[in-house]
């Protein structure tokens, strides 16, 4: 049984013209696995992430996270599920600019009314791991994008979620910061064994995954596994993308 089980998942958006965003998706992510989802714009990868994030409901099919079906929960229960079981990393960081970095990071724990001691301990541990100890008392607009994203990762992992969901975490970063952020995610995956699902356009970010799943027109198209060499994996991803109909020259190889 995987940490995340997606069974025959479909999503249809009803409008004047019904659109089938996802069609019959089956996907299993094992405990401790780091999986990337790739696909062209409009392929349905964000829709898939939203379903897994429990912020959108499927039209048919089933999603099981840690053997629980979040879509059968009541709204308040679901919110609690999200904040205990899931961690989120977004493209635009989504840090609250009225709070300091430290306050942003402990927010999930304060909502759970954890003790101050526990919060301080966890904050210290996660900040050290991500190398953001010096900026803890700064405000979000006083630090760089890369630091902000690391803070966001800290917030997403401080409560030890069973599943970390990342939506284009490197989308707003330069290549150096991107690499740094991905290395941090890889580190967390390795040391804490956190299961991760990453949705991205960026082949560089995807090359840090164990496995990359490609989606085309709402259906699973293919998946490739990483071998020993990340450089090789990166090349494979680029080849796959160009094969998928993307334009290979858009994705510069220089960044590796």
């Amino acid at each position: 049984m995987g940490m995340l089980e997606i069974q025959k998942l479909s999503k249809i958006y009803n409008g004047k013209v019904s659109t089938r965003a996802l069609n019959n998706i089956d996907l299993t992510i094992e405990q401790g696995e780091f999986v990337g989802i790739m696909g062209a714009s409009g392929s349905g990868k964000t829709t898939l992430l939203n379903m897994v994030s429990t912020i959108d409901t499927p039209s048919s099919g089933k999603i099981l996270i840690n053997n629980q079906n979040p879509h059968q929960m009541k709204k308040n229960q679901l919110a609690q599920f999200r904040r205990r079981q899931l961690g989120f990393v977004f493209q635009d960081f989504n840090l609250l600019d009225t709070l300091t970095i430290a306050e942003n990071i402990v927010l999930p724990l304060t909502l759970e009314k954890k003790s101050l001691k526990e919060m301080d301990e966890k904050l210290k541990a996660v900040a050290e791991k991500l190398g953001i100890v010096e900026i803890l008392n700064k405000r979000t607009y006083e630090v760089s994008g890369g630091q902000r994203q690391r803070a966001a990762i800290a917030r997403a992992t401080i409560h030890s979620p069973v599943l970390l969901l990342a939506d284009e975490p490197t989308g707003a970063l330069d290549s150096k910061s991107s690499r740094n952020v991905m290395e941090m995610m890889e580190k967390i995956n390795q040391t804490d064994g956190t299961t991760m699902m990453l949705v991205t356009h960026d082949p560089l970010a995807a090359s840090y995954c164990h496995r990359v799943v490609f989606i085309k027109d709402g259906e699973l198209y293919n998946e490739i596994h990483r071998g020993q060499n990340r450089q090789e994996f990166f090349q494979e991803i680029i080849d796959m993308l160009s094969f998928l109909g993307g334009n290979a020259h858009e994705l510069s190889a220089v960044r590796v």
Binding site: I55, L78, L96, L99, L116, R155
Partner: protein
């Protein structure tokens, strides 16, 4: 899409934000129009208190207009600030300054015109209702009429108001670079800063104001007010920020549940809205103090009636030599005639009284024991056997609690001759009972009384000769309604007096005071004050609520993003509601809280000016209570609308 259509669409699509502003403006127009409709009513001056109503309403119309001006100015400038980004985009697209100004001008004028039209329409629609209401209060038949004057004055003045302010607001966005405009209000806000010294100044000023009030010296009141204003201003701009920062530092509290969210948001909202809070607090205080005073006066008027045992009192005219007068019109005769005609039994008492001045105390009315005892039996007042230079002191509950404290045992005369012959007067017994309303009455035995008269014989005018009519069938424990026999009889006597020519009046042998007539006139005055005051309070509270609504909805986009992010992280709907409710409640109730304290303190300083039966603090609590209820209704409406908007972004 023409430029005008563009402006119209802007308003239509922002209707959610504009609605409160539009409705409040319309309401102000309606109230202004209603006042004018009364002022220009052809019959208004025919009412006995028409002139006071006329001036009161003119003043009220001015106040309404003045605050409408402030309200529109504040609202439009706040709204423009929120739209800076939009103007930036237009600038980048190549819109000229002139065109932007024209756009803003057009939008303001569209809303202004719509408000004037709606306000006028409602005003005309409800005019009959308001006139009926006014008829009731003024006790005068006010016919429906075509209020042409009121209409054109309202339309012209409010259109001028919107025109001038529309032209003025364009200045607000002048001289800003496009890049600033694009960044607009979305720039991350710096953490609110406060000066610890100014915060300290605020704390000291407020404490000093409290100290001054506690001194119980009316000379201190203006100074206390000044320190209160200074303290309050810096409280909102500085001290509150410091307090919130301290609250944040206490992580045991702030890092718990939703506290982190609302406390940090509060720090920003406080600082951003400090001036608004200050203004709202002052306006609310004004409204509540006025309301409380009117209520206190109304209570006093009622007590003045219930504490008057005699239905009529006739003071005989001094220096009225009946022999020289060819013709005498006797007031007592007329009263007795009227009462006998109606078959109403009455008791008539005669009193001679002297007002004497006492050291550190003031005037006390003296009455002969024999005269008192006669009345005391009928009024069930206490009796006492009095030795020479002993007094039975009666304190009317209506009397202003002055310098005659319960510890005083002897009364010392101010008059030297009296001191010489009588030394002083010993207070044998004291009761809080009314013989003569609003006065201290001292009963002394006949010898003492005559002695006093002898000493003061050089001035015979010092003695008041009065007749009092006690009518047992007229119960004064409850307030009479206009149809009671007492009211009708009082009115009849009043009419008789009013019908006399000047010559006839000169031949009257005395002055009549009638408790029902006194009550009736005072009651009407307070009714007019309430009638006018009610609208003013309504306007204030509506302006305040709609301004808060406005402020909230300007921040709506920011808050929606904020809660959307939190919701993804797992903030539940209930938690969002709790946090958001706290934020809105603070906006509504913090100014109200301070206004409440100010009102109570303010009214407690004027309490000594009222009698012991009238507690201004209780009236103040009533006024605040009513205001709180109104504000709570707005709060619930605003909260419901705001939460509905936030709910849409919750995942």
């Amino acid at each position: 899409m023409s430029f005008r259509q563009f402006a119209l669409n802007n308003i239509r699509r922002n209707s959610f934000t504009y609605i409160a502003y539009f409705l409040s403006s319309s309401f102000a127009v309606m109230i202004f129009f209603t006042y004018l409709m009364f002022i220009h009513h052809p019959d208004i001056l025919k009412a006995p208190i028409g002139l006071s109503a006329f001036y009161g309403m003119t003043l009220a119309a001015f106040i309404t207009f003045f605050f409408s001006f402030l309200f529109v100015l504040y609202s439009t400038s706040a709204f423009l600030k929120a739209r800076l980004k939009e103007f930036g985009i237009l600038t980048i697209l190549g819109a000229q300054r002139k065109q932007l100004n024209y756009l803003i001008f057009l939008e303001n004028m569209i809303i202004g015109t719509a408000s004037v039209m709606t306000g006028m329409f409602c005003g005309l629609l409800f005019s009959k209702l308001f006139l009926l209401f006014g008829e009731n209060v003024l006790d005068l038949k006010l016919d429906m009429y075509l209020p042409t004057e009121a209409t054109w004055i309202t339309v012209v003045s409010f259109m001028a108001l919107f025109l001038i302010l529309s032209l003025m607001t364009t200045i607000f966005i002048r001289q800003r670079k496009a890049v600033e405009l694009v960044q607009g209000s979305s720039k991350p806000k710096k953490e609110p800063k406060a000066s610890i010294w100014l915060a300290l100044l605020s704390a000291i000023s407020l404490s000093y104001a409290v100290y001054l009030v506690a001194q119980d010296d009316s000379d201190n009141v203006p100074l206390a007010l000044l320190f209160d204003i200074i303290g309050l201003y810096f409280f909102f701009t500085q001290l509150s920020v410091v307090v919130i920062r301290l609250l944040k530092k206490n992580r045991l509290y702030s890092w718990r549940g939703l506290n982190l969210l609302w406390i940090t948001e509060l720090a920003y909202k406080m600082k951003d809205n400090a001036r608004m809070f200050f203004m709202i607090t002052m306006v609310t205080t004004m409204a509540c103090t006025t309301g409380g005073s009117v209520l206190a006066i109304q209570k006093y008027v009622e007590n003045a009636y219930t504490e008057s045992p005699f239905a009529y009192t006739v003071s005989q005219r001094e220096n009225f030599d009946s022999k020289k007068q060819k013709q005498i019109l006797s007031v007592t005769q007329k009263i007795e005639q009227t009462l006998t005609q109606k078959g109403i039994p009455y008791q008539k008492f005669y009193t001679d009284t002297i007002d004497l001045d006492f050291k550190n105390i003031g005037y006390i009315k003296f009455i002969r024991q024999s005269e008192y005892q006669e009345m005391a039996k009928s009024l069930s007042l206490p009796l006492a056997s009095l030795q020479d230079r002993e007094a039975l002191l009666l304190k009317s509950p209506l009397v202003i609690p002055g310098d005659l404290s319960d510890t005083v045992t002897h009364l010392s005369f101010e008059n030297k001759q009296l001191t010489k012959s009588l030394e002083n007067i010993k207070i044998k017994d004291r009761y809080t009972k009314t013989l003569f309303p609003s006065e201290y009455t001292a009963v002394v035995n006949n010898q003492t009384y005559d002695q006093i008269v002898n000493v003061l014989s050089s001035d015979p005018d010092i003695i008041d000769h009065k007749y009092h009519y006690l009518i047992p069938s007229w119960d004064n424990r409850t307030i009479p309604d206009t149809n009671s026999i007492e009211m009708k009889t009082g009115l009849e006597l009043q009419k008789w007096k009013d019908s006399l020519s000047t010559n006839d009046t000169a031949t009257l042998d005395g002055f009549m005071t009638s408790r029902s007539q006194d009550y009736y006139t005072r009651k009407q005055l307070t009714s007019v004050a309430i009638f006018i005051g009610l609208f003013i309070v309504a306007i204030f509270s509506i302006f305040i609520a709609s301004f808060l609504y406005f402020k909230l909805f300007i921040d709506l986009q920011h808050d929606q993003r904020y809660y959307h992010e939190l919701s993804k992280m797992g903030l539940s709907l209930n938690e969002m509601k709790k946090a958001a409710t706290k934020q809105i409640a603070i906006l509504f109730y913090i100014p109200l809280f301070f206004a409440g304290i100010q009102t109570l303190v303010g009214l407690s300083t004027v309490n000594p000016l009222f009698s012991s039966t009238t507690n201004t603090v209780i009236s103040g609590i009533w006024a605040i209570g009513i205001f709180t209820v109104i504000q709570t209704i707005y709060f619930l409406i605003v909260r419901a609308r705001y939460l509905a908007q936030l709910k849409r972004v919750m995942v």
